[in-house]
Symmetry: C2
Subunit: 374 residues, 2 copies
């Protein structure tokens, strides 16, 4: 059955749970480009958000968090898009799963490995699908980078290096304590970890990290920045990255191979073009990929999995794979020692086959929310 035939048949109806910045600028507008997905309900404790966004997107089913069960049992939603603070991912995922509602959850999947495992298990037991919202798994530039590295174009890829920094202003939820999934590793370090795992097609076996804090009030509950090194098995590749909530906007990575280099700069953006510079045997080629609606791609892919019974990629295991690295890095920060990770493997790396292209969205007027930076 073609995608067109399927979309004529049925659209997956979503409740978007949590109406903060990312929901407003990216998730809600994405439904316009996701032909197999429908925005069916909104969940928030802020009446103004429910009212204004409900009217803007013509969504009549509106619920407070207290009414989440009601939402799940309303019969108007097949799936939820969880855009809540990290420490609430587990609870809302499990509640949706128990009500037979599929879950597309923002990254990081959860705060701890136990949380991730519980979410994966509960979704399995209740026969619902779980996907983690790694938007770059559907993005052309990123998939081409993975394809190029896996294909040996750089020779043997030996090392990965990334810097991901932004300014996060006081009061932003990203500055939550680490126990609630706050801090730069959970919010942006997860992109670096996800990138290198997929580029190397492997799981790190040992990690070390340093966190730092300049003592500003906004960094009272989580660190300002963390730098990390990951060692990968087999031919011993190394990856290092630094992520910070107190740097100008930078988001870039490079892979250095025995005969070539790949630079993505910017690498992790959804609101800008992505640029890829590849140098092989001394010859450089640069290519810019247009800004696209990466969130519509997630919705389309997840809805298709629900409609066809296919397994989502990125799966819950992909979410767990990053969270266990984050937690190991924090253990290294606390102990001042290298941390050895238990064996873990998964084989379903993203490939060009999962690329989905949709036009970019325009930035909507925000309702009762702010961008993380000034």
């Amino acid at each position: 059955m073609s995608r067109t035939a399927k979309q004529n048949q049925k659209k997956i109806r979503y409740a978007v749970v949590g109406l903060g910045h990312i929901a407003q600028v990216a998730v809600l507008p994405a439904f316009a480009h996701a032909e197999n997905s429908e925005l069916a309900a909104l969940v928030s404790d802020n009446p103004e958000k429910l009212e204004k966004l409900g009217r803007r997107y013509k969504v009549k089913a509106r619920f407070s968090y207290d009414q989440f069960e009601e939402c799940l049992k309303s019969g108007v939603v097949d799936a939820v898009y969880i855009a809540l603070p990290n420490h609430l991912h587990r609870e809302y995922t499990e509640r949706a799963a128990r009500a037979g509602v599929h879950v597309l959850c923002e990254k990081p999947l959860a705060v701890t490995e136990d949380d991730c495992l519980a979410m994966i298990r509960t979704c399995e037991e209740n026969g619902v699908k779980l996907m983690v919202a790694y938007r770059l798994h559907f993005e052309e530039a990123n998939l081409k980078a993975i394809d190029l590295v896996h294909g040996g174009r750089l020779g043997d890829p030996r090392l990965f290096d990334s810097v991901f920094t932004m300014q996060v202003k006081e009061g932003d939820i990203r500055l939550n304590p680490r126990e609630l999934g706050g801090g730069p590793l959970y919010d942006i370090g997860v992109y670096c970890i996800n990138a290198v795992r997929n580029l190397f097609g492997a799981e790190p076996m040992e990690v070390v990290a340093f966190s730092a804090n300049n003592g500003e009030r906004r960094f009272q509950q989580c660190e300002e920045m963390t730098a990390a090194i990951l060692r990968f098995p087999g031919r011993e590749r190394l990856a290092s990255f630094t992520c910070s909530f107190n740097g100008t906007d930078v988001g870039t990575y490079r892979v250095v191979g025995t005969r070539g280099e790949l630079v993505m700069d910017p690498a992790y953006e959804y609101a800008e073009e992505l640029t890829q510079r590849v140098t092989i045997d001394g010859r450089t080629r640069e290519r810019t990929f247009p800004k696209r609606d990466q969130f519509a791609a997630e919705l389309i892919s997840f809805s298709e999995c629900i409609l066809t019974g296919a397994a989502p990629e990125p799966s819950g295991w992909e979410g767990l794979a990053d969270v266990r690295v984050i937690r190991a890095l924090y253990r290294s920060v606390e102990t001042g020692q290298l941390v050895t990770l238990p064996p873990f493997s998964k084989e379903d790396w993203p490939s060009l086959a999962q690329e989905i292209r949709r036009p970019p969205v325009s930035k909507p007027v925000l309702v009762n929310t702010e961008a993380p930076s000034e």
Copy 2:
């Protein structure tokens, strides 16, 4: 007294000790641009090098290593440029110092902190000057970068990140065992360490590192690559870098500040233009600095110190400052733990005042030596 007046007065006469690749492609040709310096003697155990290079540069005083004392006491040299393997730096420096001959020594200054301290002490006791051949301390792009960061143009500089990789072929002296100063940290990691110490104007207090090895025969005696993180005191800056002998040619660093970013790419070259990209408050400016004779600059500066009695910058202490970080990084590699460095401070950071511009040299025909890469 003007520089011209001084140069009319006297030239410092050098013996170049060790006639390997760097001596042949960079040091020997540099005398043509160093108006206060004269190539007066050659020291090598290879008769063909002595003969051919002696003829090419019209140097009659030629010595084997066994005749090094003879060279020092010949009365034809005021200074030596030591371009020997790292583990020989100490011995040849001390012998020169005891003969009253000044020493310009390639970096790293030596293999251990004890070696460095002994060299500094012996030069002091014998009233001779000691400089470490950090060629970028006289280079415009690098000095402008330091000036820009120290001047607060990026806001508060928070993190440094660098990648320095090259392919080193089997048999090259860079692949010596670590005890002899082989391996990527001594040879190229030293540039990253030197860069960040000068950019931050501070000494690291804690370090961690991972080394890796893909098992190739050329990496039997030293590691293939090392990734490191350095923590700096005060407002807790972080620096990370990766250096490798098994990557395509990459040599770049970035400094991320609270409101701007500086990228140098290439950052460490002497045989290419250097490019500086500065982004402040979202506006990017790129500038390319012409290839120059960075080795002539070293000679001119050191000779001027000898002629005027000024203290060399970079001093022996600057050399020690990097070697102690390299050694701490290897301790971390061995123990799998963070290593705390003892307090250390020096105040003489390089400044724009020490910039010296001379035209680049052409690559000479090599005699019985090879480039480290294919």
